[in-house]
Amino acid sequence: MDELVARPAWAGLDLPLSLGGVTLSILPDGPLASLAPLRGQERAVADALGAALPGPGRMVALPGGGRLIWNGLGRYLLAGAAPDARLAGRAALVDQSDGWTGLALTGAGAAVVLARLVPLDLAPVAFPAGGVARSLLGHVDCLLIAGTAGFEILVARSFTRTAVHDIETAMRAVAARRALPQGPVGAGP
């Protein structure tokens, strides 16, 4: 039988891209699943995962590797780990490994770039490392995770090209401001 060739969502896009000290790259993909505890099963799900379910805007590292990321009302993303068999019947698990594209925006000016697109206060005091938010990236729904070196940005796979284009445009504008003789007044976080 013919072997199918996988075509990733970012095929044809010029990444990683660095501009003005900020780098946009693709996150390595791995297993990703939507997890929604069934009614009354929250405890059992937590037990199966070995970690308490993260509250809104949070995520937790799982003991067996991977992360559980809050993903809106009653939903989580199980990232980087295959679903534990004990979750069966306790949570609605839905494969999303091909549903999302993960982007990383890193560098000192990452928040400044995202301020062009995301209507959130991204300053560390307001959105510290480890924080999770569902919001908008331009006109596209996104899931944002704050890290120490920048942000992870998840968008639905079909929006990958738009998201990359929008981020790249913002990166160019920020980089141009940095090149201004009087310095980047007005471009701060």
Binding site: M1, D2, E3, L4, V5, A6, R7, P8, A9, A11, G12, S34, A36, L38, R39, L73, G74, R75, A92, V94, D95, Q96, S97, D98, G99, W100, A115, R116, V118, P119, L120, D121, A123, V125, A126, G138, H139, V140, A156, R157, S158, F159, T160, R161, T162, D166, T169, A170, R172, A173, A175, A176, R177, A179, L180, V185, G186, G188, P189
Partner: protein, 979 residues
């Protein structure tokens, strides 16, 4: 008018060449275009809107009404730009506007002679005869005369950006009040954002000869700015105008980023529009001086006194021999400052009797007014009247101060009305005008520098307290603390001739008087009748004077008369900035299907389908029209096998003990009875009983379903399900999530569909294993996926789904393997023909005004259970013969053409609304039937099968005989589907 030998905050060592109407001039860094024009002796800068009167500078800030120019030429031409806000750069070219053929000689100035005919509202009273001449004669004339500058009509290649910013405290204006507020909040560690319109922060400290703590105020301001710039928690935004106040502590602001640069770095936006969120804001926007109305007070050279000081002190630009006309003590400063700078001052005219203005090398008049001016394109002399009579005083510039109006506009954007303060004869912001916003300094009517500093510090302290940030007390620097002494004077009485209130829109005291006489006495009526305050400066200088004059004329107080509504933006904002990112493709995001690449490789033209783009058809060698390709693809599906990407369908996984019940609620038909491994067509109604969407429901496990929506309605259905689950049936245990992006889904349709697929699918797919409307998990070409036996073409068909990354490969593989079977890919055109022939629906039919009964699907609304929309769908007006019902139409003759949107008439009926029988929704040439066919809604249609009617599209000149048939047009008992 010239540059003074010394002084000013300009860099004399560097020269900036620029051009005004082609004249080559020089500026220095630190100049504005306005100051440079003044320093170059240019007095005539524009023409007024209506009378085309010669006009020069009045002000030095964003309130300037007259000096509007067009910046640049060609596609980049930006009209109506204030000279006071332009920073010259080498090569800057600006042009005067609203004149023809030239600024000096403007033929439209004839309007000035006709002024008696062109009073307020004259156009409402004439131009009515003969009836149709408005559009043909009068309006074109008026339009040509109206308008200020011109757009190029071409797309400007420059680009802009938008961004979000957050702060604890937003300080609006960086004069003494704003700087002190920012220092106080910044030193305490609060996140501060300080925005000022000017490229140099400092406000009036930069333009006055003041001292703070014994040092020049300019130096204090510079030190304050330097300290703020060094604080990591403070962000300075010069060249940034806060333009609007919105709900939820949200502010709009326009930052001019690259407009002042000759050679901006690549990618630099011209402007940035900011949405700033700050729980506390301090309005330290200063005050705007107001003119006094007297005859011919619009002559170039008649300026505001504070602006004259600004030009002299900040830019060392001399206005020439100056007379000063004031009704308050502050005007005196202009005389003393100018004299100190060596500018001749010819007279100091104070309207107040018995005051004692300072002495100086000028003639002093008290209890005196200016009653007229002389000069044609520039002021030469003014007429002064006092107790001793009238006399002429030579002056190239008349510096006028009628007092100051706090710049309170922003405080009114959320609907508050300002309050009249008789002590300063001005409106001040109402306390609590906007949540979280407090006004300080001149913006609050406190006109001394000391008060500005003190209020700035106090407001910041209050903000910090509200935010819970501890702060040490700030010592307020020492500065002048003069009281405001003013006697209101809005217009000089006992004069003849026109006295301007609104310079840009050419509104004079006579116009206001006419409004009052004709009973347009409400201030809003007066505004609209005279257009006072409706020009691009929104009455910043003359607005209050205008309503004060109305108050006088109608015997009311200014407070009773009130103000008109202040609206955003504070100063005009380019559409390009507010709409940044919208040009061209940026308007809406694009979605790519997993098969985008192989489809593009096959040179399929793409059409928009919502946010997606889908292949229209796949051109084959030698084909010249889309119809050829489409007919071939239809025949291919009907005769062999076709492959089509359907990944754009909305796909939702629904799970939980309550899933089946939930689906029974949201679908009109019953889903709880669906066996595992089976698929059912589903119809969703809106609660008002009309059809919302259709799709398929597959039961993939006892408590797990997989449903599809149409491409168009995917988002709407998802929100609807959220609503149903959270708001209507929160007790149900159901979880659903979109899997639209996860799955690539490909339809394989045609009599040879199974032949194509069977070798690729690991499990058997013969009719016993996978009957029509069956579904199963399956390995497809080695990838775990799903297979559904459903059809949107009327042929034996399967939809195979694999995770998206495999979609492109699977599409290639299927297309390649279809070839030897006589098959290949097909696009939207063929898909459409296939479904019309089969009488299947899309949003052309499900257009939101059709019911299940209209569609012939009334029986799908299950009687045994409730569902969303069931009760409302039974309303009497929603069924029965008065409704238009879905039918098929076939052109009688093979040559008869049909068109979507045609209406249906009976043979011989007149084309009139009363005879309308219905309309065509979906039309195609059916290669299978060899004629045009259509789906249509026909009044009482189901009862009319067999009738011959006419499909009439008068827009396209079609009148075609059609036979009414019951859809589908093909294979009514579905033999082809089942195999």
């Amino acid at each position: 008018m010239s540059r003074l030998a010394s002084g000013g905050l300009i860099d004399r060592a560097r020269r900036i060449p620029f051009a005004f109407d082609g004249r080559r001039l020089t500026a220095h860094p630190g100049d504005t275009l306005a100051s440079a024009l003044m320093a170059n002796g240019v007095r005539l800068i524009g023409r007024s809107f209506k009378y085309h009167r010669p006009r020069g500078l009045i002000a030095a800030g964003s309130e300037e009404p007259n000096a509007l120019v067009t910046v640049g030429a060609g596609a980049e031409a930006t009209p109506n730009t204030r000279a006071t806000g332009i920073e010259p750069y080498p090569g800057l070219a600006v042009f005067s506007q609203n004149r023809w053929p030239s600024l000096g000689f403007d033929l439209m100035a004839i309007n000035d002679r006709l002024a008696p005919l062109l009073g307020a509202g004259f156009y409402y009273k004439t131009f009515m005869w003969p009836a149709r001449s408005w559009e043909r004669v009068y309006e074109p004339l008026i339009r040509r005369a109206a308008g200020l500058g011109a757009l190029s009509g071409a797309r400007d290649p420059g680009h802009d950006e938008k961004a979000f910013a957050f702060a604890d405290v937003l300080v609006i204006g960086a004069g003494p009040a704003g700087l002190m507020a920012a220092l106080t909040a910044g030193r305490a560690g609060a996140r501060v954002l300080l925005a000022d319109e000017d490229f140099r922060m400092g406000g009036r400290l930069n333009v006055e000869r003041l001292e703070i703590d014994g040092a020049p105020a300019v130096a204090w301001a510079a030190a304050a700015v330097a300290e703020l710039a060094a604080l990591p928690n403070v962000r300075l935004m010069p060249r940034t105008t806060v333009t609007g106040v919105y709900d939820g502590h949200t502010y709009g602001a326009l930052e001019r980023v690259g407009r002042h640069l000759a050679d901006p770095p690549e990618g630099l936006p011209r402007d940035a529009f900011w949405r700033i969120v700050a729980p506390r804001a301090i309005l330290a926007a200063g005050a705007i001086e107001r003119p006094i109305a007297f005859p011919d007070n619009d002559r170039p050279g008649v300026m505001l006194a504070g602006a004259v000081r600004a030009y002299v002190n900040r830019w060392a630009a001399s206005p020439g021999a100056t007379a000063v006309f004031t009704n308050n003590d502050d005007g005196w400063r202009t005389a003393t400052d100018l004299a100190a700078a060596g500018v001749p001052v010819t007279a100091l005219i104070d309207a107040r009797p018995g005051v004692a203005p300072p002495d100086g090398p000028w003639r002093t008049f008290t209890g005196a007014v200016v009653t007229g001016t002389r000069g044609i394109r520039a002021l030469r002399a003014v007429t002064v009247r006092d107790a001793h009579g009238e006399r002429s005083v030579a002056a190239e510039c008349l510096a006028v101060s009628g007092g100051w109006n706090p710049t309170l506009h922003l405080s009114c954007h959320l609907g508050a009305r300002p309050v009249w303060d008789a002590a300063i004869a001005a409106f001040t912001p109402a306390p609590d005008a906007a949540p979280g916003l407090s006004a300080v300094g001149a913006a609050r009517g406190a006109f001394s520098t000391r008060a500005a500093l003190a209020q700035g510090a106090a407001a910041a302290a209050e903000a910090l307290a509200a935010l819970g940030i501890a702060a040490a007390d700030q010592a307020v620097p020492y500065a002048e603390d003069a009281a405001t002494t003013i006697t209101p004077l809005w217009r000089v009485a006992r004069t003849t001739g026109r006295a301007w209130l609104d310079f840009q829109n050419d509104v004079t005291t006579k116009d206001v008087a006419l409004a009052a006489q004709e009973n347009f006495r409400s201030v809003e009526h007066m505004k609209r009748y005279t257009t006072l305050g409706m020009a691009t400066d929104q009455g910043k200088t003359g607005g209050v004077a205008g309503l004060a004059v109305l108050a006088e004329l109608t015997g009311r107080s200014v407070a009773e008369t009130g103000v008109t509504t202040f609206r955003p933006p504070f100063t005009p904002v380019p559409i390009a900035a507010l709409g940044a990112g919208g040009a061209g493709r940026g308007f809406a995001p694009h979605r790519d299907t997993p098969t985008q690449a192989p489809i593009a490789a096959r040179r399929a033209p793409l059409v928009e389908a919502g946010l997606w783009r889908r292949p229209s058809y796949f051109p084959a060698h030698g084909e010249t029209t889309w119809r050829e390709a489409c007919d071939r693809e239809v025949a291919m599906v009907r005769g062999a096998v076709g492959v089509c990407d359907v990944s754009t369908l909305g796909k939702i996984d629904v799970q939980g003990e309550g899933a089946a019940t939930f689906l029974d609620h949201v679908y009109a038909n019953t889903m709880s009875t669906l066996p595992v491994g089976r698929v059912r067509y589903g119809l969703m109604l809106r609660e008002d009983g009309f059809v919302m969407d259709d799709g398929t429901v597959a039961r993939v496990g006892p408590t797990q379903f997989f449903i599809t929506t149409t491409t168009a309605a995917a988002g709407q259905v998802m929100a609807h399900l959220d609503f149903a689950a959270q708001c209507l049936w929160p007790g149900l245990d159901v979880a659903f999530v979109s899997q639209t992006d996860h799955w690539a889904q490909i339809a394989v349709a045609g009599p040879k569909a199974r032949d194509l697929l069977a070798p690729l699918v690991a499990t058997p797919i013969d009719d016993a294993a996978l009957a029509y409307m069956g579904c199963a998990a399956a390995d497809i070409a080695g990838v775990p996926g799903r297979i559904y036996r459903i059809s949107f073409s009327g042929e034996r068909a399967y939809e195979v789904a694999v995770p998206a990354r495999w979609g492109a490969g699977l599409f290639d593989l299927l297309v390649e393997r279809a070839r030897p079977l006589g098959g290949g890919p097909y696009g939207m055109e063929a898909l459409n023909v296939l479904r019309i022939e089969k009488g299947l629906l899309t949003h052309a039919e499900l257009h939101g005004r059709t019911t299940a009964d209209d569609l012939g699907l009334g029986r799908m609304v299950a009687s045994a259970k409730d569902c969303i929309g069931k009760t409302a769908s039974r309303r009497p007006g929603l069924s029965g013969p008065e409704r238009q019902q879905l039918v098929g139409l076939r052109a009688r003759d093979a040559s008869g053409r049909l068109a979507g949107g045609a209406h249906i008439l009976e043979p011989g009926a007149k084309a009139a609304a009363a005879n309308d029988q219905g309309y065509l929704t979906s039309v195609c040439w059916s290669p299978t039937l060899g004629r045009d066919i259509a789906l249509a809604f026909l009044r009482d249609g189901r009862a009319r099968t067999g009738e011959t009617l006419r499909a009439v599209c008068r827009l396209r000149g079609l009148d075609t005989a059609v036979d009414v048939v019951a859809p589908p047009f093909l294979d009514p008992d579905g033999g082809r589907l089942r195999g």
